[in-house]
């Protein structure tokens, strides 16, 4: 956020008011040629972005308004479906198949449960990962023997590819796997609803907590030690130092970390796809999209557009929330000193 705001302010602040009037004409010309120059410099990047981001998104939206191919009753060959209007969106949002409600066993009947599952996974995993990640970051920030060894060890789960992680936990949670042997239980981890969900949450937390810890650690390390010393001299307790100093100062980094994790978790695919194939109430939106691609591209495009809008909305709420915060702490005071 701050990087986006800085260049805007930069030309304003150094020019004193008196000189501004004299130099205005020359400055304008310089600014125009500079602007043109800048345009040519950034245009390759813009073209690249247009090709890899704008084109697929726009194309998906166009496809979302087309009917899926249907079978010609006479020749038994697929023919183009033609324009669909909002039918594809109604199909998902209202769970309508044709004129009736989608029957269990169709993808259409799973939309809202998939939305629920996705948000459930997101909420639970992000909360757990934030709490555990914070704790790990605080430990890693301390100075002690073997700190670098610990940091390296913590990173191992994050370094393992998700597909491998999923297979690993798939075997751990098998009926005669380690989890059941260790606890002497006979739980069908991947074969019944809540155990399956928790199995996925546990694997996700195991895998991504290090990522969270690392981002928070980066935030912790920019807090100067003097602030803590000053607070100690003033007689602040450990808890007060945590809530009054650590938390507010680490908040920007923490928020970015949480935002990344939330967006990441909202498109969770590989863990449930490998561990449960989406059975037992673990079908996320991304799994639904991939399943639908094999049944009809245009419905899948509508579904991925809906998914896109959902993620957009969540991201917007976060950035708005974050952005407001950043603006509030940046604008009123250019002088030193933080107040709450």
């Amino acid at each position: 956020m701050s990087t986006l705001a800085q260049p805007k302010r930069a030309p304003e602040t150094p020019s004193p008011k008196t000189k501004k009037v004299q130099k205005e004409v020359g400055q304008d010309r310089a600014a125009t040629s500079q602007g043109r120059w800048a345009f040519w410099l950034i245009s390759p990047a813009l073209v690249l972005l247009a090709v890899v981001i704008v084109y697929p998104v726009v194309n998906a939206i166009i496809m979302a308004f087309q009917k899926d191919q249907g079978l010609d009753p006479v020749t038994k060959v697929f023919v183009q479906g033609g324009p669909a209007g909002f039918d594809n969106f109604v199909h998902w949002l209202a769970q309508q198949c044709g004129s009736a409600a989608c029957a269990p066993g169709t993808l259409g009947a799973q939309f809202w449960s998939a939305v629920g599952t996705t948000f459930f996974f997101t909420a639970v995993t992000v909360v757990l990962e934030t709490v555990l990640g914070f704790w790990m970051a605080i430990i890693m920030a301390r100075t002690f023997r073997g700190r670098s060894a610990l940091r390296a060890a913590v990173l191992v789960p994050w370094a393992i590819p998700t597909a491998v992680t999923a297979k690993l936990w798939f075997f751990i949670f098998a009926f005669d796997g380690i989890a059941n042997k260790l606890f002497g239980t006979a739980i069908l981890w991947t074969g019944s609803e809540w155990p399956a969900r928790w199995a996925i949450i546990i694997s996700d937390v195991w895998k991504t907590t290090p990522f969270m810890a690392l981002l928070i650690l980066a935030g912790l390390q920019i807090i100067p030690a003097e602030v803590y010393e000053a607070a100690k001299v003033d007689g602040a307790s450990a808890w007060q130092r945590f809530t009054q100093i650590t938390l507010p100062l680490v908040k920007p980094a923490l928020m970015v970390a949480v935002l990344f994790r939330v967006l990441d978790a909202l498109r969770m695919y590989d863990l449930p796809a490998i561990m449960t194939q989406g059975s037992n109430g673990t079908t996320t939106l991304s799994i639904l999209v991939v399943d639908q691609i094999r049944q009809g591209f245009n419905s899948a495009a509508a579904l991925s557009t809906i998914t896109f809008l959902i993620i957009f909305l969540v991201a917007f709420i976060f950035v708005r929330f974050l952005g407001a915060n950043a603006v509030a702490s940046a604008t009123p005071k250019t002088t030193k000193g933080q107040d709450k």
Partner: protein, 426 residues
């Protein structure tokens, strides 16, 4: 200022959401009318490409080398795909949509043949392109037939086999009820009775279809409409539901794919196992197998005789976009010849589609499951041959799974399955 305050977050959110979800879009649609493509290049000869999934047992390359030695001016290039079925399917779809002329002969799973044929991507094997299917097992030809037209040449087949413990059960059960009554033997020895593939994936469709077909029911009729609400179909699914409820299928059975069941059987913890022929070699030779000399094989049990197995296997098809269809057809004939089929069976343990090979003494000596497999394939019913297969299999899996686990009644499951199958083909 105020608008900027809103615009900036919106823009950032947009970019983040886009970059994170941009991979979700699908490919574009293409026209399906291809009457022109199917009529073109029928006499074309020249180099072609053969596309198949990963050649795990290294049987394709020697065959391609053999062909190339005999046809220096019509060389075949072998393009190997990944070993994941879903990825092979998607790769074929993308290349057909792009009308890739370099995908001349393709290897398609039996369950994709109807879909690709209905999309107009496969060359009908009629007139100049026709091949001889009279010596092939009829069920395998059925998997390659869509709308009364042959679209592919059956190449390899596969059927279900009942593995049983001959030290505990001297004569294998012929019917489902007989097998269920033998479960008391399993109980006496403290082992599980029966397992197949009941996790929610394609294997469940195979097993549910076998249960339904063996009881005399069907899943879809000739018109492609669902027929699962018949009493026979319900009785078939009910067999599985009852067996799971009373423990004849163990609790963990709903997490079993092929490998978990095989593991349990080889550990001596399972009396009856429904699985594919590949288990034979592993159960015989695995160091950890405890049943090396104590297991036998039999056809799947049915209502009053052998059950109706589902069919696995692959078909060979010619792309309508191929420029050298005459060569492609010759290669098809070569790849489904008796000699090739025999090579496939001995080198790759791939079940042949020619019925004569099942009685070949040298082959039977090497692959003792062949006679049982022949019975299995002779009684087999292909999984629904429909261009909407992905939706149909999903409807079967979801509802059969819920019924087996007891989440809904058999009646309800079949009603839902019926609606779901029919809404798929609208």
């Amino acid at each position: 200022m105020n608008t900027r305050k809103y615009l900036l977050p919106a823009a950032v959110a947009g970019v983040l959401a886009m970059s994170l979800s941009a991979c979700g879009g699908g490919g574009g649609g293409s026209t399906a009318s291809s009457g022109g493509d199917a009529a073109a290049n029928l006499d074309g000869r020249g180099p072609i490409t053969y596309v198949q999934g990963k050649d795990n047992s290294n049987v394709v390359r020697p065959l391609v080398d053999k062909w190339n030695a005999a046809h220096p001016d019509q060389k075949v290039t072998f393009k190997e795909q990944s070993d994941q079925a879903d990825q092979q399917h998607d790769d074929l779809v993308q290349n057909f949509q792009a009308k890739n002329v370099n995908y001349d002969v393709v290897d398609v799973d039996v369950i994709w043949t109807a879909e690709f044929a209905a999309k107009g991507w496969l060359q009908p094997l009629t007139d100049k392109m026709s091949i001889d299917t009279s010596k092939m097992l009829p069920a395998t030809v059925k998997t390659a037939t869509y709308n009364n037209t042959l679209f592919a040449a059956p190449q390899t087949s596969d059927g279900g086999i009942l593995y049983y413990r001959k030290d505990l059960v001297p004569t294998p059960p012929k019917t489902w009820d007989e097998m269920m009554s033998m479960c008391s033997i399993a109980k006496q020895h403290g082992i599980d009775c029966y397992a197949g593939q009941f996790a929610k994936y394609e294997g469940l469709t195979v097993n549910a279809a076998e249960a339904i077909n063996s009881a005399g029911g069907t899943i879809v009729g000739d018109d492609g409409k669902s027929t699962v609400t018949s009493a026979a179909a319900k009785a078939g699914l009910n067999n599985l539901v009852t067996a799971y409820k009373n423990g004849n299928i163990p609790t963990q059975g709903v997490t079993y794919q092929e490998e978990q069941g095989r593991q349990s059987f080889e550990d001596g913890k399972l009396l009856f196992l429904r699985n594919w022929p590949y288990v034979y070699n592993l159960a015989k030779t695995d160091g950890s197998s405890k049943v090396k000399d104590t297991f036998g094989m039999a056809p799947l049990p049915g209502k009053s005789g052998p059950g109706a197995s589902s069919l696995g296997g692959h078909n060979l098809a010619v792309s309508v976009y191929s420029a050298h269809k005459a060569t492609a057809k010759d290669f098809l004939t070569f790849m489904t010849s008796e000699e090739t089929e025999k090579f496939y069976a001995t080198q790759g343990s791939l079940a042949p589609v020619l019925s004569s090979l099942y009685d070949d003494p040298t082959l039977v000596q090497q692959l003792p499951y062949l006679p049982v497999l022949k019975t299995s394939i002779q009684n087999a019913v292909p999984r629904p041959v429909t261009p909407f297969y992905p939706a149909v299999t999903k409807a079967i899996q979801d509802n059969a799974y819920a019924a087996i686990k007891g989440d809904k009644s058999v009646d309800q499951a079949m009603t839902d399955m019926d609606t779901a199958i029919n809404s798929a083909s609208q």
